[in-house]
C-alpha cells in the first residue's frame, strides 16, 4: 500500500481563497487568478502517491511550488483543498496534537540551509528529535551516536555547528533526521547550498544510506542531474502543477511538454541513461555447434569483425573473432568451442552509461549487456551510444 497519497492538493496563499479556488477549478491560469483575486497559487491540483521505500523527487525551478508541496506533506503549510494521507491517516484537517505526534514518529525533514541550532553541539542537534519524543537520556545518546556514525561524523559530537563546513553541517542535518528512525524523510533541496564536489559526495552517501535503510524519501531539487541520480520517480513541477511524472528515463526520453523538453535539454545523458536504454538487439549470434564457416559468413555479410556466441537458451558464452574463425576453418575444425573468448567487456542492463564510456572508448569488440544469469540482453555499439547521448531515440541497427 502507498505510504503517502496526495489527492487533488491545492494551496492558495491569501486571506480569501474561495474565489481563487473557484477560478482555479474553472481552469484559469495563476496570473489571471492573481490579477482577479490577489491570491497567489502555490500548488494547483496535484495528485500522486508514493510507495514505501521509494525515492520520489519533486523537481522544478524556484517558484514552481515544490517547497510548498513538500511542506504540505508534513502540515507545515496547510492545504487549501484536496487531501493528503500518510500511511492511510488523513493529514488534512488533523487536530494539532495528532499532527505533532505524526511528525514526531513518522517523518523528519532536512533543510536547504541546514537549520542547525547554534547553541547546541552536534550531539545536541542530532538529539533534538529524540528529545521531543521524550526518550530517556541514555537511549537518546546511544541513538544519536549511531546516527552520527552513520553519516561519518564520529568524533565531532562535541563540536558546535559554526565550526563545521557546509557539507558537515548537512551531515548533521541528515543524522538528525535519521536519529528518530522515521519512515519518511522529507528533504528540501538538501545539497543545493553545497559546492558541486561535496554535493556529489553527499548524493552518493545518501544513496548509500538509502540502500541500507530503505526509507521513503521525498526529495526536492532544481537540479535535473541530481533528480535523475536520486529519484526512482520524478515529478516535474511548473506553476504549482505537476507537468510530468515518471521514471527518470521516461522524462528524458519522452518529455511530455515543451517545458519538460527544455528542462531536459542540457542534462548530462550519460548519468541518466543506462546500458539497457541505449543497447541494441543482438540479432546476429552464433551457437558453439555452428561451424567457423557460418560465423565467417555472418561477419562478412554484416561487416563485423567479431560475433557473440550463446547457447540455445540465450546464455552468453563469449565471442569469436574473424581471424580465429578463418584459421580453424583452414585447419578443417568444424566447431567453435576452441576459439571462444571470454574476456569481452560486459555490462548489466542498469549500469549507468557514464561508467561505460571509458570501456567503449577502448574496446575493439562490442560490449555485451547481460543480466545476472549471463543471458544476453543486447549489445552496446558506438553508434547507439552516441545517439543515446545526443538524446535521440531512433532505432539503430547493429552496424
Amino acid at each position: 500500500m502507498e505510504i503517502i497519497k496526495v489527492e487533488h492538493l491545492t494551496k492558495i496563499y491569501g486571506s480569501d481563497t474561495n474565489k481563487a479556488l473557484k477560478l482555479l477549478n474553472q481552469g484559469q491560469d495563476n496570473n489571471t487568478i492573481k490579477k482577479k483575486t490577489r491570491q497567489v497559487v502555490g500548488v494547483r491540483d496535484v495528485s500522486f502517491h508514493i510507495e514505501p521505500g521509494e525515492s520520489f523527487v519533486i523537481m522544478g525551478l524556484s517558484g514552481s511550488g515544490k517547497s510548498t508541496l513538500l511542506r504540505c506533506l508534513n502540515g507545515l503549510i496547510s492545504a487549501t483543498a484536496g487531501k493528503i494521507f500518510i500511511e492511510g491517516q488523513e493529514l488534512t484537517g488533523m487536530p494539532a496534537h495528532s499532527l505533532e505526534k505524526l511528525r514526531r514518529q513518522k517523518m523528519s525533514m532536512v533543510f536547504q540551509r541546514f537549520a542547525l541550532l547554534p547553541h547546541r553541539t552536534v550531539l545536541g542537534n542530532v538529539d533534538y528529535g529524540l528529545e521531543i519524543q521524550g526518550l530517556a537520556r541514555a537511549e537518546r545518546r546511544q541513538k544519536s551516536l549511531q546516527a552520527i556514525a552513520m553519516v561519518g561524523l564520529k568524533g565531532w559530537e562535541d563540536s558546535y555547528p559554526a565550526g563545521l563546513s557546509g557539507g558537515m553541517q548537512q551531515r548533521v542535518g541528515i543524522a538528525r533526521a535519521l536519529a528518530t528512525d522515521p519512515d519518511i524523510l522529507l528533504l528540501d533541496e538538501p545539497f543545493s547550498a553545497l559546492d558541486p564536489l561535496i554535493r556529489q559526495e553527499m548524493q552518493d552517501e545518501l544513496l548509500d544510506i538509502q540502500k541500507r535503510l530503505q526509507k521513503t524519501i521525498v526529495f526536492i531539487t532544481h537540479d535535473l542531474d541530481e533528480a535523475l541520480k536520486i529519484g526512482d520517480r520524478i515529478a516535474l513541477m511548473k506553476d504549482g502543477a505537476i507537468v510530468q511524472m515518471g521514471q527518470p528515463e521516461d522524462i528524458l526520453l519522452s518529455p511530455a511538454t515543451e517545458y519538460v523538453a527544455r528542462f531536459v535539454e542540457n542534462v548530462n545523458y550519460s548519468k541518466a541513461l543506462t546500458a539497457a536504454s541505449v543497447m541494441v538487439r543482438a540479432r546476429n549470434v552464433v551457437h558453439p555447434k555452428d561451424g567457423p564457416m557460418t560465423a565467417l559468413h555472418i561477419m562478412e555479410r554484416f561487416g563485423m569483425s567479431s560475433l557473440f556466441v550463446t547457447d540455445r537458451g540465450g546464455k552468453l558464452l563469449g565471442y569469436v573473432n574473424a581471424d580465429d574463425a578463418s584459421r580453424i576453418a583452414g585447419q578443417g575444425i568444424r566447431q567453435l568451442d576452441t576459439i571462444i573468448k571470454k574476456d569481452g567487456p560486459a555490462a548489466l542492463p542498469d549500469t549507468p552509461l557514464c561508467e561505460l564510456l571509458e570501456v567503449l572508448a577502448h574496446t575493439k569488440v562490442p560490449v555485451a549487456v547481460v543480466d545476472e544469469d549471463d543471458s544476453l540482453k543486447g549489445v552496446l555499439v558506438r553508434g547507439s551510444v552516441i545517439a543515446g547521448l545526443a538524446g535521440e531515440r531512433r532505432e539503430i541497427s547493429e552496424q
Binding site: 507545515l76 514526531r104 533543510f111 541550532l117 521531543i132 565550526g163
Partner: protein
C-alpha cells in the same frame, strides 16, 4: 487672543477625568495597594539590610570575580578601584541601598517583562495592545506618575521601585519580542517538523536563540533603573539618589558630584558585567 473655529468645540476635561479616576481608584483600591506596598517594602528593605550587613570586602571580591570571569582582567581592576573609591568617600551604605533598589526593580522587570515580551511576539492582538503602552511608559515624564503613586503606595522604596519599573521595563519587553521574532524561519520549521509542542519550541529553540537580545534588554533595563535613582529619591527612595537630592537642596556641589560619580561607577560595573553575559556565552558558538 485670536479666536479659532476650534473654540466652538467644548474643552475635553482630561485633567478632571484623571483626578476623578485617581480618587476613585484610591478609594476602592487604596487599602489593597497599601497592603501590597507594605509586603514589597519588607522585601526591598530586607535586601538592602542584607547587602549592608555583608562585609564590604566580601562583596567587592564577589564583584571582582564576576567581572574577571565574565569580562576581563581590566574590568576586574576597574571594579576593585571603583568600589574601593566608593567605600573611601563614605558612600558604601547608600550605594548598597541603591543597588538593592536596582536589583529589586530589575528582578521584577524580568519577571513581568519576559512573559509579556513572549506574549507580544506570539500574539498579534497582544502586540497591538502592548506596543503603544510601552511608548506611553517610556515617554510619559516620570514626575507625572511619580506623584500619583504616593497616595497608593505611600512614600519610600515601593513607589520608587514601581516608577523605576514603569521606566525601565519596556526594553526587556521590546527586546524579548524582537529576539523571538528574529528566530530564523527555517529553525521554526525545524522545531515544528519534528513535532515540537508550543513549550518545547519556546524553551528549546526560540528562547535560546533570542538570548542575546533578551540579555541586551536586561542590560538596558539595569542602566535605565540606575538613571531613575535620583528621580526616585524625590519620593523617599534614599540611597545615592537621596544624597544627590539633599546636595541639590543644600547647594552642596561637591557632595552632589561625589554621589554622581558613585552612580556612574556602579553603572559602568553593572553594564560591563551584564553586557558580556550574552557575548561571552554566545562566543562559545563561534
Amino acid at each position: 487672543m485670536n479666536s479659532s473655529l476650534m473654540d466652538n468645540i467644548p474643552r475635553i476635561p482630561l485633567a478632571e477625568w484623571t483626578d476623578r479616576s485617581i480618587d476613585y481608584l484610591q478609594a476602592e483600591w487604596g487599602e489593597s495597594t497599601q497592603a501590597f506596598a507594605n509586603g514589597m517594602e519588607e522585601l526591598i528593605k530586607g535586601l538592602q539590610g542584607f547587602l549592608i550587613s555583608l562585609p564590604p570586602e566580601l562583596l567587592i571580591i564577589v564583584f571582582i570575580l564576576l567581572a574577571w570571569w565574565l569580562v576581563s582582567k581590566k574590568v576586574a581592576l576597574f571594579t576593585l578601584l571603583g568600589l574601593m573609591f566608593i567605600y573611601n568617600i563614605g558612600l558604601w551604605k547608600v550605594s548598597m541601598e541603591t543597588l538593592a533598589l536596582v536589583i529589586g526593580a530589575v528582578a521584577l522587570c524580568i519577571l513581568i517583562g519576559i512573559p509579556l515580551g513572549i506574549l507580544a511576539a506570539k500574539n498579534k492582538s497582544a502586540h497591538r495592545i502592548i506596543a503603544p503602552i510601552l511608548d506611553f511608559m517610556q515617554t510619559l515624564p516620570a514626575f507625572v506618575y511619580l506623584l500619583p503613586a504616593i497616595p497608593f503606595f505611600g512614600l519610600g522604596v515601593v513607589p520608587a521601585v514601581l516608577t523605576t519599573i514603569v521606566f525601565a521595563m519596556p526594553p526587556v519587553i521590546r527586546l524579548t519580542d524582537l529576539g523571538l521574532k528574529q528566530v530564523p524561519e527555517e529553525l521554526e520549521e525545524l522545531g515544528k517538523s519534528f513535532g515540537s509542542t508550543f513549550w518545547q519550541m519556546l524553551l528549546k529553540i526560540e528562547l535560546p536563540l533570542a538570548r542575546a537580545n533578551i540579555l541586551a534588554g536586561i542590560n538596558q533595563c539595569i542602566m535605565l533603573s540606575l538613571s531613575m535613582v535620583v528621580v526616585a529619591a524625590m519620593i523617599g527612595a534614599k540611597g545615592l539618589g537621596g544624597v544627590v537630592w539633599t546636595a541639590i537642596q543644600q547647594l552642596k556641589m561637591g557632595m552632589g558630584f561625589e554621589a554622581g560619580v558613585a552612580i556612574v561607577i556602579l553603572a559602568i560595573i553593572l553594564d560591563r558585567i551584564t553586557q558580556n553575559l550574552g557575548v561571552k556565552q554566545g562566543g562559545r558558538r563561534r
